[in-house]
């Protein structure tokens, strides 16, 4: 990696002292100004404001009086919120496990590295480009009770009980269908990143293991995966956070959003509905803060783990 300090020598070409100061402080500040403006304006301020709102009344999207931790006591006494919190967590864990395992399998297949593998790599990444709204609609069609291809396939395979099975009449079955749609969408990015990680493990160590007669499986478990640990941690956390934030698939695939009878409500959807359908921004802000703290904790764990791994 090019170190920034070696770049210092070039300042000798700039003659005046003022020029030096400009080069060292003025120019970088100017270059960073637009980024900092965006971060402060559309990220920093909203975070502070959301935290502030969570301690105030906020009916009809108007900011009301300070009400202490009332919003928090309200959501933690709300069985629908607690159910959504638990549901989102289970959903995220299942999504992450499926995503990571499938991605690893795909990466190992593509690691073969022929020209065919290069084409397949592009195909694998393709679902990532499909808009989530579109993929949600398509999966909802594929899981249609009467004419869906999923039921047809299951019945053809001998599972007669899926004849006309209505996936979206039941919370659990809806979640299964949504999980499949979300995993289909999140695997590409993770699989391609894992492929890059696997490629980077090739070299002397792996060669030595092979010479010593390690099997394909032993090479993977004992050598390659441990070498990839920092990357695996990052990818695990990234997919956890994506899964926790799932919104589009839930909004599109469930009718009414979060239904039937609240059985598919997840954190992001519930927060959004609370703010813009129930129009209570105080309670919604409190939900957002809880999500934020949860994800911040996950990110902190990631920073810690990846430091230990490096």
């Amino acid at each position: 990696m090019t170190s920034t300090t070696t770049g210092r020598a070039r300042h000798e070409v700039v003659p005046a002292r003022a020029g030096l100061r400009w080069d060292r402080f003025g120019l970088p500040s100017l270059l960073l100004a637009p980024l900092l403006a965006v971060i402060l304006g559309v990220v920093g301020y909203p975070i502070v404001r959301t935290v502030w709102l969570s301690f105030h009344e906020g009916e009809y999207l108007m900011t009301g009086a300070f009400n202490g931790v009332d919003n928090y006591t309200e959501i933690f006494g709300d069985p629908y919120f607690l159910a959504a919190l638990l549901r989102t967590t289970i959903f995220a864990v299942v999504c992450v496990l499926c995503t990571l395992l499938i991605s690893l399998a795909i990466a190992l297949v593509l690691d073969a590295g022929s020209w065919v593998a290069r084409i397949v790599t592009v195909v694998v990444l393709l679902p990532w480009a499909m808009p989530r709204v579109a993929s949600g609609i398509i999966f909802k069609w594929m899981f249609n009770d009467q004419y869906g291809i999923a039921n047809w396939l299951l019945v053809s395979l001998g599972f007669e009980q899926f004849k006309g099975y209505a996936w979206f009449n039941d919370g659990f079955a809806s979640l299964v269908a949504i999980t499949i749609a979300v995993v289909w969408h999140s695997v590409p990015f993770i699989a391609i990143s894992m492929l890059a990680g696997l490629r980077a493990t090739r070299g002397e160590v792996l060669e030595a293991a092979r010479v010593d007669g390690a099997s394909f499986y032993q090479q993977l478990i004992r050598v390659r995966l441990p070498m990839m640990k920092p990357l695996l941690v990052i990818l695990g956390v990234m997919s956890t956070i994506f899964a926790y934030q799932s919104f589009d698939h839930f909004l599109v695939m469930t009718t009414p959003p979060g239904g039937p009878s609240h059985s598919t409500e997840v954190l992001s959807l519930l927060t959004w509905l609370q703010a813009f359908t129930v129009l209570d921004q105080g309670v919604a802000a409190a939900m957002a803060v809880v999500t934020f703290v949860l994800l911040a904790a996950i990110t902190a764990i990631y920073v810690k783990l990846s430091k230990e791994g490096a």
């Binding site: 770049g7 970088p28 709102l53 808009p131 609609i137 599109v252």
Partner: protein, 271 residues
């Protein structure tokens, strides 16, 4: 040899699973209703029709398409500019508190959108930007600038400083050195962060659905989601609209996929 016996069939399965939803979406949009609503699915339409597309094109879709293109285009260009400047600064200068700035930039990526959606609504309402292109672009910047900057920074760091130095020793100003020597080399990175910005903005639903209720400036994700909830049984029409919505991102993606993969790989391996 035995590995090939596993690898190639596996590749076929992977391609099937990855591509089938695309295939099924296109096929369904081309089938007349009588062929869509069959218990045994028809994989090839017997009498393909284009009437769903012509119907959509005489409706609001062209306008919504343009709206989305405008928002995603503006987001991409502004993100690219901001990330180019900041990425260069973070790669080449000893900015004070750089470590923390980098952590902040990366954590933006981890933020739940729900934390931003309520205050941004209030901000856009008070500045009268609710339902405008500018307002939506502004909110999309929050989602794109972090990773784009990080990606471009890693591309800048791969370009040896000595290239700039020798140009400057030869009498070029820093601006000239950067313009003539560095930018031509960093262009793959710009392509990668651009496609990332475009896809993010084009596909984004939560901000769009909240801020763009006014129908004339509605973007495609919002339109599609509403179309879907109101014409629930018109599967052919919904699929055709989804195809129109999907084509631009897929085309853009295929054009720059090589650069994009380099960018993602750089981001993943260097972390």
């Amino acid at each position: 040899m035995t590995r090939k016996l596993i690898v190639y069939p596996a590749m076929v399965v992977i391609c099937l699973v990855a591509l089938f939803p695309f295939f099924w979406m296109i096929i369904t949009s081309l089938k007349p209703d009588t062929e869509i609503f069959t218990v045994t699915p028809q994989f090839i339409p017997h009498e393909p029709i284009l009437s769903r597309y012509t119907a959509l094109f005489s409706g609001a879709i062209p306008r919504q398409f343009l709206n989305s293109l405008l928002v995603a285009g503006a987001t991409t260009i502004i993100t690219g500019l901001i990330a180019l400047l900041a990425g260069y600064a973070l790669a080449r200068f000893n900015v004070p508190m750089k470590r923390y700035l980098l952590i902040v930039i990366l954590s933006i990526q981890m933020l739940p959108q729900t934390v931003l959606v309520i205050p941004l609504f209030t901000v856009l309402r008070t500045t009268d930007l609710l339902g405008t292109y500018q307002g939506l672009v502004l909110s999309h910047l929050a989602l794109t600038v972090g990773l784009a900057t990080y990606m471009l920074r890693s591309f800048f760091m791969d370009i040896p400083v000595s290239l700039e130095e020798s140009a400057m020793v030869d009498g070029a100003s820093r601006m000239k050195a950067v313009r003539l020597v560095v930018f031509p080399l960093v262009w793959p990175g710009l392509a990668a962060s651009s496609i990332y910005g475009f896809i993010t903005s084009w596909n984004e639903l939560m901000f769009s659905a909240t801020y763009m209720q006014q129908s004339s400036r509605e973007t495609l994700p919002v339109a599609l989601q509403q179309f879907f909830s109101s014409y629930y049984s018109d599967w052919g029409g919904v699929m055709a609209a989804s195809v129109i919505f999907t084509i631009p991102v897929v085309v853009f993606f295929l054009l720059v996929q090589k650069r994009l993969m380099q960018g993602m790989v750089a981001g993943a391996v260097k972390g």
